[in-house]
């Protein structure tokens, strides 16, 4: 009979998405980035700061009845670039998706600087942020060059 420590913290889901290996403490940011809040109707399970061999501690999110799109993965890359994403169908892993934080984040978020040329929403060129460093995350607007604060960026998801 399994003891308390070996029991699952969150039960398996039938259909949906599992985001694993989220840096410890970042799960709420991930949900915000994905636009999953208290008003969303899908069931969401979340565990934070659980032990991980690879990371020391990690967060995990399970979203039922929703499969993340490539656009959502691109958003996720900003908060959890090394997370593992699995699409679950009928309790089995149907697909493993790769998150890729490249050298540029294209049309995912808007620059947070109030005087940047991109604040004119009628301007048609894409929103471009350059990834200068990954750890810690260092991002600048391609156009105005301003460094971007992640907490502010989350509010500017396109």
């Amino acid at each position: 009979m399994p003891n308390e420590h070996s029991m699952r913290r969150v039960t398996a889901i039938r259909n949906g998405t599992v985001v694993d290996h989220i840096p410890s403490g970042q799960a709420l940011r991930v949900l915000e980035m994905l636009g999953i809040g208290g008003k969303s109707s899908v069931p969401v399970s979340l565990v934070m700061n659980v032990p991980s061999k690879k990371m020391g501690a990690k967060d995990i999110i399970k979203v039922e009845d929703r499969e993340l799109t490539q656009t959502e993965l691109d958003r996720l890359a900003l908060v959890a670039p090394d997370a593992h994403v699995a699409i679950i169908r009928a309790y089995s892993v149907a697909e493993k998706l790769t998150i890729n934080l490249g050298t540029e984040v294209l049309n995912v978020v808007r620059c947070t600087f109030s005087n940047c040329i991109t604040t004119n929403l009628r301007e048609p060129l894409p929103h471009r942020l350059k990834v200068i460093g990954r750890d810690p995350l260092h991002i600048r607007c391609h156009y105005c060059g301003r460094p971007q604060d992640l907490d502010e960026l989350i509010k500017n998801v396109l």
Partner: protein, 316 residues
């Protein structure tokens, strides 16, 4: 075709090449020789906010080399007030011209324009961002006075927070190993991200509120205007700005070859008594805007400046 949006678009070798070209073009800039290197070329002057020196010096630079200029004109009479996007304006001017000089109140506008254009864009100031063509003329002026850009001690004073001139210049000076002293009121300090960028690039930066205590061993003192509207009340402005004024009496112990620069217009940060000292360099600096921009336009359009300008040029 690549333009000049920030000083990062040029290597140190390219900067030196353009300054060398500018030096040879001096007699043309002064109107002593006519050398129509840019005949048949058209510059588009797109100034979305007021400019005197930058706009006029671009225009003069083009005309001294035999080129033509078209102006956006008063923004109140342009399509911009009808809501035209920058992208659309650039598409239009791109078709009319061979190169564009641009100033815009929004930061990042010059890069945005470059991404929208076929022709090179020269950034004449974008918000509080960059002003690299001013930096080129500043570097030209410093090298003209000291014979080098390497290892100089440069004091940048006044409004370092909003002054895009000093932002671009400090980046460029760092690349030539200059020591930088930032002298400003606390409210108008150089933005933290710029100071940390400079330090990451290996810059030797000192921040102080004491201008007069910093000038005696400086090679260059670069003054900027402190604007009243940056302060909550006039008393605070008077108290802060008072420490950032130069009078001829303050120059008794400075190095004999030290130069005082200013992007102009000045208000009262440099007293008229300084004008007649050997240190006053700001009017020559303003003139150098023409020759530096002549060399820059040639460079960006791939036009070679002859090694022997004197023999290639004709009389006016």
């Amino acid at each position: 075709m690549a333009g000049l949006i920030t000083m990062d678009d040029l290597t140190n070798e390219q900067i030196i090449k353009i300054l060398d070209d500018a030096t040879r073009l001096l007699p043309v800039a002064k109107g002593e020789l006519f050398l129509p290197l840019l005949q048949g070329r058209i510059l588009g002057n797109l100034f979305f906010e007021p400019s005197t020196r930058t706009r006029m010096s671009f225009e003069t630079a083009m005309k001294r080399l035999g080129g033509e200029v078209v102006n956006l004109g008063d923004i109140k009479n342009s399509s911009v007030v009808k809501g035209e996007t920058l992208f659309d304006t650039i598409q239009m001017v791109d078709g009319y011209t061979d190169i564009i000089a641009m100033r815009h109140p929004r930061q990042g506008a010059a890069q945005y324009a470059q991404d929208s254009a076929r022709v090179p864009i020269m950034n004449g100031g974008d918000g509080a961002g960059h002003h690299p063509t001013q930096t080129m003329l500043d570097l030209f002026t410093i090298r003209q006075a000291h014979g080098t850009l390497e290892g100089l001690k440069v004091v940048l004073a006044g409004d370092l927070r909003y002054g895009r001139t000093v932002h671009s210049l400090s980046h460029a000076l760092t690349r030539f190993g200059c020591q930088l002293i930032f002298a400003s009121p606390k409210l108008l300090k150089m933005p933290t991200e710029i100071v940390s960028d400079l330090r990451e690039s290996g810059a030797n930066v000192v921040e102080t509120e004491d201008l007069l205590g910093s000038i005696n061993d400086a090679d260059v003192v670069y003054m900027t205007r402190i604007q009243k509207e940056r302060f909550v009340d006039e008393d605070e402005y008077a108290r802060c700005a008072g420490g950032y004024k130069l009078h001829a009496d303050n120059l008794a112990d400075v190095k004999s070859e030290m130069i005082i620069m200013h992007p102009l217009p000045r208000v009262d940060e440099i007293h008229a008594s300084v004008d007649s000292t050997r240190h006053a360099c700001y009017f020559n600096q303003a003139f150098n805007g023409v020759v530096a921009r002549m060399a820059l336009i040639c460079y960006l359009l791939g036009v070679t400046v002859p090694v022997d300008v004197e023999s290639e040029g004709g009389a006016l």
